[in-house]
């Protein structure tokens, strides 16, 4: 299991970010640094589940608009502000898929296959890419979301729990159950 995240932030960084958020509550223009910092990350996250750059851009703008409009309700819990943005993005994707399931997309990369290989412990996983492409679609959306956040997005469980509004331990249990399901499907299909 990975112990560090590519998006990991120090306590000092998180504290500095919180101060910007507090300032932004009074003056929305202060939000620019947060916007600049996370726009690309959130857009990439959304684009990973879509096949349409323009739609990804529109939804990302909506995510930041919602965040800004609801900033007064935000309370820092010692996590990067991006956790909150991911939560909003996740909800936006849900709404989008609810209205048009055809938009659902899964983007696999060699890097992702490598991560899965490490987690599933299957040396031949690379050879099974065709099978994996079919099988991963059989996962429930909620299971895929957990795997995606944990293994593709490298989010710590604490952040995943914040994003999905579940407890940290529940996030762990559910993520590994989802991974077990994927393993089982790979073995039986």
């Amino acid at each position: 299991m990975k112990e560090s995240s590519s998006y990991h932030q120090t306590d000092q960084q998180i504290k500095a970010e919180s101060e910007i958020i507090e300032l932004s509550k009074q003056d929305p223009k202060q939000f620019r640094s947060i916007y600049d910092k996370y726009f690309g990350q959130i857009m990439q996250y959304i684009y990973n589940r879509l096949d349409d750059k323009e739609l990804a851009a529109d939804l990302t703008q909506q995510v930041f608009l919602k965040a800004l409009k609801n900033l007064s309700k935000y309370e820092s819990r010692g996590l990067p502000f991006s956790s909150w943005l991911y939560r909003i993005a996740s909800n936006e994707l849900n709404m989008t898929f609810r209205n048009d399931a055809k938009l659902k997309t899964i983007n696999m990369t060699d890097g992702i296959i490598g991560t899965l290989q490490e987690e599933i412990i299957d040396e031949n996983l690379v050879e099974k890419i065709g099978k994996l492409k079919q099988i991963i679609k059989l996962l429930k959306e909620s299971d895929y979301r957990l795997i995606e956040l944990r293994f593709f997005e490298d989010r710590p469980f604490k952040e995943i729990s914040e994003i999905l509004e579940i407890t940290e331990n529940n996030a762990k249990v559910k993520t590994y159950r989802a991974l077990d399901k994927l393993k089982e499907m790979l073995a039986t299909h």
Binding site: D36, G40, R98, D100, T105, M108, N169, V173
Partner: protein, 566 residues
């Protein structure tokens, strides 16, 4: 997810893509204005992007802009109205306590069985809970309760949006010391949902944490009408005498009757019998000395009894030279002489008009004999009467039971036709919503470009988000996502504009269709099938739909009443 497109090694977004999409100034502008949300709606197979003004139908007559009430165009107001509405109408939870270590079975007031095996719960660390767990439970069986709880009943499959027709739905959660607990996947909870709808075309779906319905399993319905009704019958059936007791009473009665007849016979009396209209009888002259038992009777007829199995009816038309009457045991024998000699068994009977007099004569003869023989006949008659009353009382109770059983069987048939006790059985391995459903397509037939107005004031155009449609013969409602009425938007120049907007919908004019919506003032706007049937639809112009406004819709029963759901 099965319809998801899978890409392999697609290029990630470039810095250029991201920079192109970023526009902080636009964000600031949008933040300063009411939100113009990008929303996708699927209507009649056409995907319309509802952003700015694209995809909206513009109400003819630009001068309407002046009539716009800015308050009505506030999307937030509509959302707040919806939220406040559903707060009041959602189905409340019922609370149960289940011991995690021992497990339990709960039967809800609707008859749904919840079977919790021992070790059914675990905490967030995955430890099995052996203490008490508070269960929050609610179930939904009709459109008003599902709508009133604001449960999204749309289901995406193969890129198509379906709407669930429900055979029943539950929501269940577990808590220990106010902290959420989870279902132990190794010991799932078994739900036997008491469904009000028959049929085996309903599948089981679970609403995942993202709010998407996921297919779980095919239908596992189990019909139990006979078992349940027989149980009820057994409980309600009045006490029935044992068959042997009834038989014994009947035998006593028959025995007493035979004894009386024997004594009457020994007394040389006959019991007057009424003539049978189906049998032939003849009036004969006889000497009373030869037949003393017939003494005093007037109008005696001799009836050819059923014992004459080969009786030829043509004999009644022949001429006879002589007739003789004699007695053989208890029977009378009538011999006819003519071209042939015929012997027939007959019995003395009386025509209706002579019957009363014959009975009186019999009673006089009976009393005279009884007086002369120490009441032997009256004693035997009393014994027979007592035995008969005892037997008859029991027989009546038997008849009552038979009738009651027949009534209950008819009731049972009626109930089984309505299939009130179909059990839909499934395993619950996650807390949340579980649904027994059949996906349905949006109704088709009549396409309408509507303008929804207040039925009591046609100048009052209604503003709302989401239009709901239901047909009375289906336990389903269809949601048209979108906005109707007055709306603010920002044009290309960044200027705020107000416009009337509407989206088309379709319904089946052959069905009893009811439409409703929650207005931005929190009223339930409804048009019933009867009123919808009176509307004339135009292909070229928008159609005015007059909706009755129901205020104070505070619970599911009021929704039922407003939309006329039975």
């Amino acid at each position: 997810m099965k319809d998801a497109k899978v890409n392999m090694n697609r290029a990630p977004l470039s810095e250029k893509d991201i920079d192109k999409a970023k526009n902080f100034d636009q964000l600031m502008k949008m933040n300063a204005e009411p939100p113009v949300k990008i929303k996708w709606a699927k209507i009649g197979g056409i995907v319309a992007i509802i952003g700015g003004v694209l995809g909206y139908i513009f109400w003819p007559g630009n001068n309407r802009e002046e009539q716009i009430d800015p308050q009505k165009s506030d999307k937030q107001q509509t959302e707040t109205a919806n939220s406040e509405f559903f707060k009041q109408t959602e189905v409340p939870y019922t609370h149960y306590v289940v011991n995690g270590g021992a497990g339990d079975t709960i039967v809800t007031p609707n008859g749904t069985r919840l079977i919790f095996p021992a070790g059914a719960f675990e905490d967030k660390e995955g430890n099995v809970i052996s203490e008490n767990v508070d269960i929050q439970f609610r179930e939904f069986h009709d459109v008003p309760s599902i709508f009133g709880t604001n449960v999204d009943m749309t289901y995406d499959s193969a890129g198509t949006t379906y709407h669930f027709e429900s055979a029943g739905m539950i929501e269940m959660h577990g808590f220990k010391n106010n902290k959420e607990v989870f279902v132990n996947a190794d010991q799932p909870i078994i739900v036997e949902l008491n469904s009000h709808y028959p049929g085996d075309h309903y599948n089981i779906y679970f609403m995942d944490p993202d709010g998407d319905w996921e297919f779980v399993s095919k239908d596992t319905s189990k019909y139990e009408p006979v078992v349940m009704i027989m149980d009820t019958m057994n409980e309600e059936r009045p006490p029935v005498e044992n068959y042997l007791v009834i038989k014994s009473k009947e035998d006593n009665y028959k025995k007493a009757k035979n004894e009386l007849n024997q004594k009457i016979n020994e007394a040389g009396l006959i019991v007057p019998q009424k003539a049978n209209d189906e049998l032939f009888s003849v009036k004969l002259s006889f000497k009373e000395k030869e037949f003393p038992e017939l003494k005093g009777y007037k109008g005696i007829l001799f009836e050819v009894t059923e014992k004459n199995k080969d009786f030829d009816k043509s004999l009644t038309k022949q001429e006879w030279t002589d007739i003789q009457l004699s007695k053989e045991g208890e029977d009378y024998l009538m011999t006819l002489f003519g071209k042939q000699k015929i012997k027939l068994i007959v019995r003395p009977v009386f025509a209706g008009e002579d019957m009363e007099e014959a009975n009186q004569n019999f009673e006089e003869l009976f009393a005279a004999y009884d007086a002369a023989h120490q009441g032997v006949l009256s004693a035997a008659r009393e014994q027979m009467t007592t035995a008969y009353q005892s037997y008859k009382a029991t027989e009546d109770s038997v008849i009552n039971v038979i009738n009651q059983s027949l009534n209950q069987a008819a009731w049972s048939d009626e109930l089984s036709q309505k299939a009130y006790n179909v059990r839909r059985i499934f395993e619950v391995d996650n807390f949340g919503f579980w649904n027994s459903d059949c996906p349905q397509n949006l109704p088709k037939g009549q396409e309408v470009d509507p303008v929804f107005v207040n039925a009591d004031d046609e100048l009052d155009t209604l503003t709302f988000t989401n239009l709901y449609i239901a047909e009375y013969d289906k336990n389903a409602f269809f949601t048209y996502w979108g906005e109707w009425g007055h709306k603010k938007y920002i044009n290309d120049k960044g200027e705020e504009k107000k416009q009337f907007i509407s989206l088309p919908f379709t319904f089946n004019p052959k069905s009893e269709t009811v439409l409703w919506a929650i207005t931005n003032k929190g009223e339930l706007a409804v048009i019933t099938p009867e009123e919808l049937g009176k509307v004339t639809f135009s292909k070229k112009a928008a159609t005015t739909i007059k909706m009755k406004l129901h205020k104070k819709v505070i619970d599911v029963s009021k929704i039922k009443e407003a939309i006329g759901w039975k």
